[in-house]
Symmetry: C2
DNA sequence: TCCTTAGTTCAAATATTATTGAACTATTGA
DNA sequence: TCAATAGTTCAATAATATTTGAACTAAGGA
């Protein structure tokens, strides 16, 4: 099952802005940016909303060309489409991320998860 | 009559993105950017929608801190809050404007108005 | 003063989005 | 094979946003 993604030139500015103009989705982007490099799956976003709600928001992000979703076994790995967005709208994603990582929602959840990780690892 | 504007630190990223995630408002911003320096009043936006509709969209832009609206006689002069936005979210507005001025809606209307101007001036 | 221009405000109608829960698929591990 | 996990889809609901027209204000000019 390969999920549909727009090509870089199909990414539209009004759509990108509309999709990112939502607390939850902006928080998801901030979180992804903080964890960039580490594969991130849907489950990790459940602090931002219910499973079905996160599925909805991640679909919006994917359809807008902001994230890429790869199916790996039963899970999905979510990554930012940094290169494509930067090619299309230079500087846009960077400026948004800079502000998004400071959102209270993102900070709180990233910290909580770091603590859990520390406890797990002793 | 002085219209209410948020201070720079009251400008919120989710709100700015949500407000700009609309065809009409993005076109208004693109148009303002093209005409920057020249005072721009509401009437000039009537190509983008009805008078009452433009009033609604301009209020949204003002309340989000994206534009400044000054009452001068019976008209309103609209300007971009470039400095405030750039201080708050460096690079964001520039990257949006770069793409917004190329929107078909903006191009079409700016060209039509330039032609009218040329005819008027002989 | 009266008319026109420029724009706002309100309420109603529409349209679009977000949220929820139940039922579903697909993969993995025991 | 059976059960659990990870996530999607659907339909219904709730919440927001947009659009429209009619009525309004406020300033300027004849």
């Amino acid at each position: 099952m390969t999920l549909p993604h727009p090509t870089a030139d199909q990414i539209s500015l009004p759509n990108v802005l509309a999709v990112l103009g939502d607390q939850t989705r902006l928080a998801i982007i901030g979180y992804l940016a903080l964890r960039e490099g580490q594969p991130t799956m849907c489950m990790q976003f459940t602090d931002f909303g219910s499973k079905t709600n996160i599925s909805y928001h991640l679909a919006k992000l994917r359809e807008a060309g902001i994230t890429r979703t790869e199916a790996v076994g039963t899970m999905r790995l979510i990554t930012l489409r940094r290169d494509d967005l930067n090619a299309r709208f230079p500087g846009l994603l960077d400026s948004i991320i800079t502000a998004a990582v400071d959102l209270p929602m993102v900070q709180k959840i990233a910290e909580a998860q770091d603590e859990m990780l520390a406890v797990e690892q002793g």
